[in-house]
Structure formats: C-alpha cells, structure tokens
Amino acid sequence: MKKLINYTPSSANQVLLGLLPFAVLLVIYMIGSEARLAINPSDKLLPSFGQMGEAMYRLAFEPSRRTGELVFWQDTLSSLLRLFAGVGIAAIFGLCIGVLTGALPVLFASFAPLLTVISLIPPLAILPILFIVIGLGEASKITLIAIGVAPFIARDIQRRTQEIPSEQLVKAQTLGASTPQILIRVLLPQVMPKLIDAIRLSLGAGWLFLIAAEAISSTDGLGYRIFLVRRYMSMDVILPYVAWITLLAFLIDYLLSAINSRLYPWNAEGKS
C-alpha cells in the first residue's frame, strides 16, 4: 500500500473522480426536489428537471407573446455582446496603457500613480454616475464592464512588460532598433499571450459587472431575466440560467486558452 501522498490516480480514474462530486450534487438535488414536490406539488423552490426543461423549452423555442422573440437566445445574445464589447474595449485600453507605461519610464512616472488610484475605485459605486451621465442604455452597461476590467488588465500588462528582460531591449538597440520598433516588434508580441491570460482572469469580474448592470437597468439579458423572474420565485428558470452562464464562462475561458496556445506556441516555454 502506497502512502496517500504518493498515490496518483490513473487518467481514467481522474476523470471519474472529477465527475463524482457533480453526480453526488445532482443526486442530492433530485432527492430534495422529489421530497418537497411529494409534499406540495406546486412547490417552487426545488423544481424537478422536468419542470426546468419545460420552462426552458418555452423560453428557448416558443416566441414570446409580447415581443415575438425567442427570449432565451435574445438574452444570451444581448449579454454576450455587452460582455465582449466591454471586455474588448478594456483589453484595447489596457494593452495600450500597459505597454506604454511599462516600456517608457517617462510615461510610467506620470501615469502609474493615477492608474493605481483608478484601479482602487469600486466600479459598482460609480454605476449611478454612469447612469446619470450616459443614460440607461447599452453604453452605460458596456462602460461599467470596461471601467471595471480595464485597470486590472492595464496593470497586469504593465507588469508583464516590465518583466521582459532588459537585455532584449539593449540587444534590439544594438541591432539598430528605434523606440517604436522595440515597442511594436519586441514588446507588443511578447505581451499578447499575457493579454489573453489577463482577459481570462478578468472575465469573472466582467460577468459580475454585466449581471449587476442588467439587474438594475435593462430590458433583456441573462442577468435581467434572472432578476425579473425572481419576483415570481421561478427557480425553474433561474437555475438553468445560472447553469447556462457557468457553461458560457467555461467555454469562453477554454476558447481563449486554446487560441493562446495556437497563436503563440513559443509562449509554452514559460509554462513548462
């Protein structure tokens, strides 16, 4: 018998062991749901999978009587567009600010303190300001996500840029490179995979700001729907929506990591 610390499960067992907690949670839920529904068939707190399926079928495949839209898909599309727009804007800003302040000591001296202070402002606290200034439309939601995520990305990229060995900068200069050439050819390509990593890390915060903004002011979106049906205690909609958001988050993260290793094979060095 090996010591526990030396026991590594085989890869097949690893998958099984990984799935086990999910199965246990599902079974516990099903038992709980069954028990409650047996006592009170109109109980809303723990709907059965059948009830959830019916509710989701209605939202996903039957046009809404009010707007004629397929509500579930419309919610997904609106939310993803907001998320991508917000995070995308944040990534562009974060990349530019991060590389420039990380590479040029003059810009670092003038902007790093400001960036630090901005990153300490709680984004949700300025949401009312955004609503007042920009209005209740799409722009304020996208702005909230962008403002919430950009400082993190900018500071991360700044640090990554500074981590690139100064030997490379000196070497490039001895090969005749100018400042813009060093920025564009040496620094920028090397922080691109770090940017994707930073985006992956900031997507969690991105979802948070998205759902918060949708909950407060919106007419569609995944977050809006969850907070809307809460009034009717529609757990049969809320639970599948939460699962769907989780799945989307997982897929986006997986996709970004796949893109990263496809586009930047040389970045594998740091991981091994």
């Binding site: 001895t174 090969l175 005749g176 050439q181 040496v186 090397q190 040389w266 060095e269």
Partner: protein, 271 residues
C-alpha cells in the same frame, strides 16, 4: 600620430560609496580581440557596459574615434549576453531577419517584397555560417544553450558592428561546446574584421583566445572597507607572449580560495 580607435582616460566608476573602477587608462586599436578577466565584482562587466553605453563613467573619459562614447546602445556596438539575448517570440530565421529590419528607419522595421527576400537569404547564409542552418524554423525555447548563443552571435554579426561585446557568452555552456564556440568566434572575428571585447570567468579562455588580455583587480585593498578602492587593469598582456608560470600567478591572485576548493572537489570525486 593616428588617433586610437577606443581610448579610456583615467576612468572611474562609483555607485554611492562603492568605488568599482579607478584610474583605468588604456587605448585599443581596431581589430584587437581583448579578453577581460577578474574576480566577480571587479568591474570588468561595468567597463563592458560603458562601451555598450548602458553605463557612463563617473569620472574620466571614454572615447570612440576621439568622440565621447554614445550614452546609449547603438548599432556600431553589438552585444551577446550570457542569456536573454534572443527574442523568444521569433523563430531562428525571424530573429536574424528582424535584426536586418531594425536597420531600416521605418516605424515597425517590417520588410516587404524584394527587401524581405534578400534579408531572408542573407540571414540564412549567416545562420549557415554559425551552424544553425538545420534549425531555421525553431523557436529559441526549442534550442540548446549553445545554439541560442550561436543565434545571438549571428544576430549581432549580421548588423556589421565595428565592435562586438561578449558578456560571459559561454559561461553557461558545456566545455566541449565551448571549444566549438571559440572556433566560431575566432572565425567571425577574422572574416568580419571585428574589434572584440569578451568578459569571461575562465582565465584559460582569456589566455588563448584573442590578442590581448586584461586582468581587472584592485591595486589597493582595505580589509575594513572592501569597497573603498576600485579595481583597475593590473595586467595588460599580448596573448602570444604569455607563459604558464604567469598564468598560474594570475590564477592564484584572482581566486586563491576558489582554486583550492576546486582541487579539493576533484580529489574528493576521484576517491
């Protein structure tokens, strides 16, 4: 009298209270191959960085063709560091082509069309010369330490610098590979008529590579304030005139403790 290529006039360097170099005065002619040896912290790398332009002397003058040495790195002075000398996000060929591109005064240094084809061909020839023709499309992290240094050297030499600075370029390599690298660097030195400065920890290297050997050491030593006096060039020898006894003498001076521990190591391993 013709002007010396590089001239150091009474150079001193200090960081705060710590004096690194003092009274370094010497001249160098074009085409010399100088090896710099000395104990660690003796200022040989600092002197190299002054030629490179990343450090400036605190006192005295360092002249290139009678003009003050530029105070930032530039294309007439190539460098190969011990590590981090190549760009990890470019393949071997791209590394050298990029070096060609940087010579062009454009915003990005990207090359197109005919220029690009020509640069790629030139780069491939250079890489064949350093023995990397079989690895053109590999990334640096897929190369061995010796191959990386070959690439770094190819990159530096293709830009046709007048001065090539080598900062312990072979320090991390196996002895066998090091011998190959010596052959390569001597070869490039002759064909491209370079002036080479090479910092090394390996005194032997200094004794048969190149034309001139500088030993950096402290002339005065205060045991209570080890940093009160700076180092200077204590030996300036033409390489072919050196003898074994002198080698032993310098070796003992530079690292009396280290050489005894090394022999101890060896005997230990043999038993």
């Amino acid at each position: 009298m013709s002007q010396p290529f590089i001239e150091a006039r009474n150079i001193g360097k200090q960081y705060g209270q710590d004096i690194i170099l003092e009274n370094v005065t010497t001249t160098v002619e074009e085409g010399e191959f100088i090896t710099l040896v000395g104990a660690s912290g003796c200022g040989k790398s600092t002197f190299l960085k002054m030629i490179l332009g990343t450090e400036q002397p605190s006192s005295g003058e360092l002249l290139l063709n009678g003009e003050p040495m530029p105070n930032e790195p530039g294309p007439e002075r190539g460098i190969v560091f011990q590590q981090y000398s190549v760009f990890p996000h470019m393949t071997v060929l791209e590394n050298v082509v990029a070096a060609k591109g940087f010579q062009k005064a454009s915003l990005t240094g990207y090359l197109f069309g005919n220029e690009k084809r020509q640069a790629r061909q030139e780069a491939a020839e250079m890489l064949t010369q350093v023995g990397l023709s079989h690895a053109l499309n590999r990334y640096p992290h897929e190369l061995s330490g010796g191959m990386k240094q070959r690439l770094a050297i190819a990159q530096a030499v293709i830009c046709k610098p007048r001065i090539l600075l080598l900062d312990e370029p072979f320090g991390a390599l196996d002895p066998g590979i090091r011998a190959d690298m010596h052959r390569l660097i001597l070869d490039l030195w002759r064909t491209h008529k370079l002036t080479i400065f090479m910092v090394t920890h390996d005194l032997k290297e200094g004794f048969y590579l190149g034309t001139r050997l500088w030993v950096f050491d402290k002339l005065r030593h205060d045991p209570h304030a080890p940093n009160a006096y700076g180092a200077s060039i204590t030996y300036d020898l033409p390489v072919d005139a050196t003898q074994d006894s002198l080698y032993q003498e310098i070796d003992d001076q530079l690292r009396p403790t280290k050489s005894t521990t090394m022999t101890a190591d060896l005997t230990e391993r043999q038993t």
